[in-house]
């Protein structure tokens, strides 16, 4: 008979888990494995709340397994290292993102593209090689293979850095892959949330002209004055959209709900590229004429490999880029999830795990 989460592994752990499709999280006792020779044990300081955590907690994608401890934007301190670990030592400040393992032997793993390895293991809601479930960062500790741990640059704040481990790499990787880094070119960013606001900062650091495209005109001042975007386009203003047709070299679409792609394709110049990053649970409609007549393309991207994730952190440190966060206590997570569903956050919730998780046991 399968062991309970508390008994599966030798080291006690505590976190908050979703137990059913309501997605409501509550205290949960489980366990972490022994620190193997390749492993690093991390005391978690902060964990970002990604919209994927919400999709997964409510089983919106249909493959959730409960109980589920979400969280894949983890920053913490090393407390233990395995005998083969040379890159890290105790007290190092490190991060863990969306993956905790891969096969390490396929062509993707060999090219630093662990995120595309067919046997890649997600930080939570996935199955380990030993058959046990992976549990994420809404918890006090995590044990991870050193290959999937990144160093947090000294100059970065722990809370502002945590969201970069998913949101940051999710926008940085396609900007590199799709060649969206030529200074002076024009990037449109659809949606000003966790992904969008980081994309604005990284886009500006690449020397791009950045236009934020949003359905909420109230975000305009923020976008222009605080985040440094060059312009703002209200997507449900047909006249303004029309005036911007054929002006953008690239578009990053961060919207996680079902939405029409046609208006955004019209914003692209000939040979323009639209990268879609959100994961709505229903299909989108893709008109083909604009792709053919303008040689445009729509592509996807899924986080980034470990090497690129470290590169992204170092890039952000160099350009003083951190996420804009609202730090919350662990027991505020359900309210935060409700607010996240309504996009009521500037722009990422980050759980102050170290200072609030253990208190929530009482």
């Amino acid at each position: 008979m399968a062991k309970s989460p508390e008994e599966e592994h030798p080291h006690k752990a505590f976190g908050w888990a979703a137990k059913d499709t309501s997605g409501i999280l509550s205290p949960f006792h489980f366990s972490r494995r022994d620190n193997g020779v390749e492993d690093v044990t991390i005391k978690i300081l902060y964990c970002g709340v990604c919209h994927s955590d919400l999709h997964a907690a409510k089983n919106e994608w249909g493959f959730s397994r409960y109980p589920m401890v979400p969280g894949h934007e983890i920053v913490g301190l090393v407390t233990k290292t395995g005998s083969n670990v040379m890159k890290f030592k105790v007290d190092d400040r490190v991060g863990v993102g969306v993956m905790v393992n891969s096969c390490k032997s396929c062509e993707y793993c060999h090219q630093d593209l662990e995120n595309y390895c067919p046997q890649m293991i997600f930080t939570y809601n996935a199955q380990n090689h030993d058959g046990t479930k992976t549990y994420g960062g809404y918890s006090d500790t995590i044990v991870v293979d050193q290959h999937f741990v990144v160093r947090i640059p000294d100059s970065m704040p722990s809370d502002g850095c945590a969201p970069l481990l998913c949101a940051g790499i999710t926008v940085y990787s396609p900007m590199k892959y799709y060649g969206m880094t030529e200074p002076g070119k024009h990037l449109g960013i659809v949606g000003l949330g966790g992904l969008g606001h980081v994309a604005v900062k990284i886009g500006k650091a690449f020397g791009l002209k950045v236009t934020v495209i949003s359905s909420s005109s109230r975000k305009e001042r923020e976008a222009l004055d605080r985040l440094g975007a060059d312009s703002f386009l209200v997507s449900n203003d047909p006249a303004k959209m029309k005036a911007a047709f054929g002006t953008m070299d690239y578009i990053i679409d961060t919207v996680s709900a079902v939405h029409a792609l046609a208006p955004y394709l019209s914003l692209l110049k000939t040979n323009g590229k639209l990268v879609t990053l959100g994961l709505p649970e229903k299909p989108l409609e893709l008109p083909i004429f604009p792709l053919v007549l303008g040689r445009k393309l729509v592509g996807g991207s899924d986080v980034g490999g470990m090497k690129e994730t470290q590169e992204m952190l170092d890039f952000c440190a160099k350009h003083n880029i951190a996420a804009d966060v609202e730090v919350i206590q662990m027991d505020q997570i359900n309210t935060a999830m409700e607010r996240l569903a309504k996009s009521d956050v500037r722009y990422r919730f980050v759980i102050d795990v170290a200072n609030s998780l253990s208190q929530s046991q009482l």
């Binding site: 595309y116 792609l261 046609a262 000939t270 007549l293 040689r295 393309l297 729509v298 996807g300 899924d302």
Partner: protein, 360 residues
């Protein structure tokens, strides 16, 4: 002021076959061509390929047709006159014209040899010229075009089998290059084995690419493999075959213009694979974001090619002995040919023997 009749618009009498209404039926029409201007090349049309676009346009399926319409944009012939400033061509040269006869020559696209993406590009037929008259295509005895939009046909490329390359050929050659699906050892799928598809197989093979034809018709397999040189054949309605081929293709050139599902095609792609559509279904297709995101895949489109690339494609075809597989027909067979083309009953392009059978 009433516009002039087609016969009187221009000074040089011409003769062709035109569609006059949405039935799409073609019949003889006297019209006229302009004087050969200083940058123009005039030629006697020998052959003209029948493209599926001709059928869409004669029946006004895209809603943009003005009648009378003389179709034809896979036109080859022999130069009869050149303008005073023309240096690249002389009388007697073997030349061709494809889908375009004009562009603005000053925008970014034009400056980058991408006249096909110029917002002011002028189509070879059914479009408005700068002088306000409508362009007439190659189902006619003569053609006049600016030398910039004329390509040279190398001597070793026969005109009848070369004509379809001017649209079908460039339409598949351009995306194979642009999307990087031309590297030896790559594995590319071609969806649809018609005018575009069969030429795509030949070009891809010549580029050293392994080719799988994907079709709804199992009876095309033998042709595909034995005559066209495809490496394998997938029946798209056969779930088992499609499943076994999942994740095997670097790219797909999709020539099908009817609405069809994308998910099975995306599933055939390896990670980082590219699905390129060159047929344009009129309704949007369903896109599952996961399918693109999980493997960092791309869906793109492409529309013919610029003039420089069209010449490059013709030269490549001549070098590698790539020709279209054609059924040469007399002009007065054209309506029957259109009906047969609609049913896919042609291997794989009709070509009108204009010079020998177009009689006023």
């Amino acid at each position: 002021m009433e516009s002039k009749s087609p016969e009187l618009e221009h000074p040089k009498p011409a003769f062709g076959w035109a569609a006059r209404d949405q039935s799409g039926l073609l019949s003889p029409l006297k019209f006229s061509r302009r004087e050969t201007a200083e940058n123009d090349v005039a030629f006697k049309v020998l052959y003209c390929g029948i493209c599926h676009s001709d059928l869409h346009m004669t029946k006004n399926e895209w809603g943009v047709t003005q009648y009378p319409l003389i179709p034809g944009h896979e036109i080859v012939g022999i130069v009869t006159e050149v303008g005073s400033k023309v240096e690249k061509f002389k009388v007697g040269d073997r030349v061709g014209v494809g889908c375009m006869v004009g562009s603005c020559r000053s925008c970014d696209s034009c400056h980058n040899n991408l006249e096909n993406y110029c917002p002011k590009m002028i189509l070879t037929y059914g479009a408005k010229n700068y002088d306000g008259t409508i362009t007439y295509g190659g189902y006619s005895d003569t053609m006049v075009a600016d030398e910039h939009f004329i390509v040279r046909i190398p001597d070793n490329l026969s005109l009848d089998v070369g004509a379809p390359l001017l649209c079908a050929g460039i339409t598949v050659y351009s995306p194979l290059r642009y999307f990087g699906l031309d590297k030896p050892g790559m594995h590319v799928g071609v969806v649809g084995l018609g005018g575009l598809g069969h030429v795509a197989v030949k070009f891809a093979k010549a580029m050293g690419v392994k080719v799988t034809v994907i079709s709804t018709s199992p009876n095309k397999k033998q042709e595909a493999v034995e005559n066209l040189g495809a490496d394998s054949f997938l029946v798209s309605r056969d779930q088992d075959q499609m499943q076994a081929a999942m994740g095997t293709l670097d790219g797909i050139i999709d020539t099908v213009s009817a609405v069809h599902p994308m998910p099975p095609l995306l599933a055939l792609l390896k990670s980082h694979g590219k699905l390129v559509l060159v047929g344009a279904p009129e309704k949007p297709l369903e896109l599952h974001a996961f399918a693109l995101i999980a493997g960092r895949k791309i869906v793109g489109g492409s529309c013919i090619g610029g003039m420089k690339e069209t010449q490059e494609m013709i030269d490549f075809a001549a070098k590698h002995n790539i020709t279209a597989d054609v059924e040469v027909i007399p002009m007065d067979y054209v309506n029957t040919a259109m009906e047969r083309m609609l049913k896919g009953d042609v291997r794989y392009r009709f070509v009108i023997d204009v010079a020998k059978t177009l009689n006023p």
